[in-house]
Symmetry: C2
Subunit: 235 residues, 2 copies
């Protein structure tokens, strides 16, 4: 994240400005979360590097029936609406947030988008964040769960190199698994890295191309959706 996301150079950016930004975002995220809880919609913040396969994952999820869940999506992108277009072509009601030069979505952007999308009719709202393994991790959008897409070509050490993103993830999807036969990928090294960083490591290997792992992912979605409807979660 950049200086005023909460890090950076105290000589240049006063600490109170950084604190103000993040606390403003928290307030708005709580507001979004209240909406999601009241409507019993499972909101997922889907993050990952550029080209980690977030959109392809959602396309494949829709093609596989989305565990029978009605799915809507919000896609963050700096300059295009390509991801939202792809999702709509895959049959997902989707809206684009064009961030201009902003490297992440924040709770306010998501709140604005909610007013333009019939998300309350859905079971599952996926917010596909801007491709970035750093800044999106510190901006709560009001989601119930955080999923990180990590593609097999990115390497086993990414959880160690981008710890905040993985620390706060509820699930890691190891995408593009169909490419594994062509790589020197050490599964054990990834597992060890996740164990060092994630409090409760959860990993599903998945391929949007071959369908591998889609069943496990759909089951996870279904379980998470059921949990979000339990009265205890609504307090």
């Amino acid at each position: 994240m950049c200086e005023t996301c909460g890090c950076g150079d105290p000589e240049i950016i006063p600490v109170d400005v950084r604190t103000h930004i993040l606390s403003e975002n928290e307030r708005r995220a709580d507001h979004n979360r209240q909406h999601f809880v009241e409507s019993q919609v499972l909101a997922i913040n889907l993050m990952g590097s550029p080209g980690s396969g977030k959109t392809a994952l959602l396309e494949a999820t829709a093609a596989s029936g989305s565990a029978g869940l009605r799915l809507v999506a919000i896609s963050g992108d700096l300059a295009t609406e390509r991801d939202a277009l792809r999702l709509r072509e895959a049959g997902i009601e989707a809206l684009s947030i064009t961030t201009g030069s902003a490297c992440h979505l924040d709770a306010k952007m998501v709140h604005h988008a909610l007013h333009r999308l019939p998300w309350q009719e859905a079971d599952l709202l996926v917010v596909e964040n801007v491709g970035n393994l750093v800044c999106p991790a510190v901006y709560d959008l009001g989601e119930a769960l955080r999923v990180v897409a990590l593609s097999v070509t990115e390497g086993e050490d990414k959880p160690l190199k981008y710890p905040v993103m993985f620390q706060r993830a509820d699930l890691v999807l190891l995408t593009k698994c169909d490419l594994l036969p062509h790589l020197e990928f050490e599964f054990e090294a990834l597992r060890e890295a996740l164990e060092r960083v994630m409090p409760e490591p959860r990993l599903i290997s998945i391929s949007a191309r071959t369908g591998e792992g889609l069943e496990a992912w759909n089951e996870w979605l279904q379980r998470s959706r059921n949990a979000c409807r339990e009265p205890t979660r609504r307090v």
Copy 2:
């Protein structure tokens, strides 16, 4: 980039704070640049997504002889020194800048690193930025040239989706080309995307694994290094 990198929400971050950050960085970048020009060292800012193969590229460059150039490197990483360690194992004198939570390097961090590295004895200084296609693009480090590593698995549309990064690049390296036979990659689509975004599109396909493209890359380095030693560039 985040709010105070120069974008963001004027309700939260005053415009003068953003302007101040970037102008402070420009001042420091100019100071770095003056050092590089005086010492006739070619400084390259190497950027790209997490896992785009920046470190592997430098390892392969060293193994191929680095066009006969003496190479030193500075590696930006949030939490580890892994990249710098890999580079030192490859025979490159390298220093790590651990940014904590910062998503990019800035001119001040690089300036501090310069005091701990015998860069003046080198021909070529490569600053391997934090893996991120957004924020590093707006932080001048004082470099002479900007190179973006884009791996074939990231997709052809990245220049359109992350235009600032590609707009300001002097060269794009299409990395991991050995994986092309296993992908549905449309070369023409990438070329078109680059032409729409880059003023002067320059692209080299490269594979650190097979060595494809290393000759062209080394030639480019050699030419660029010669150009930076010409007296006209020293004004």
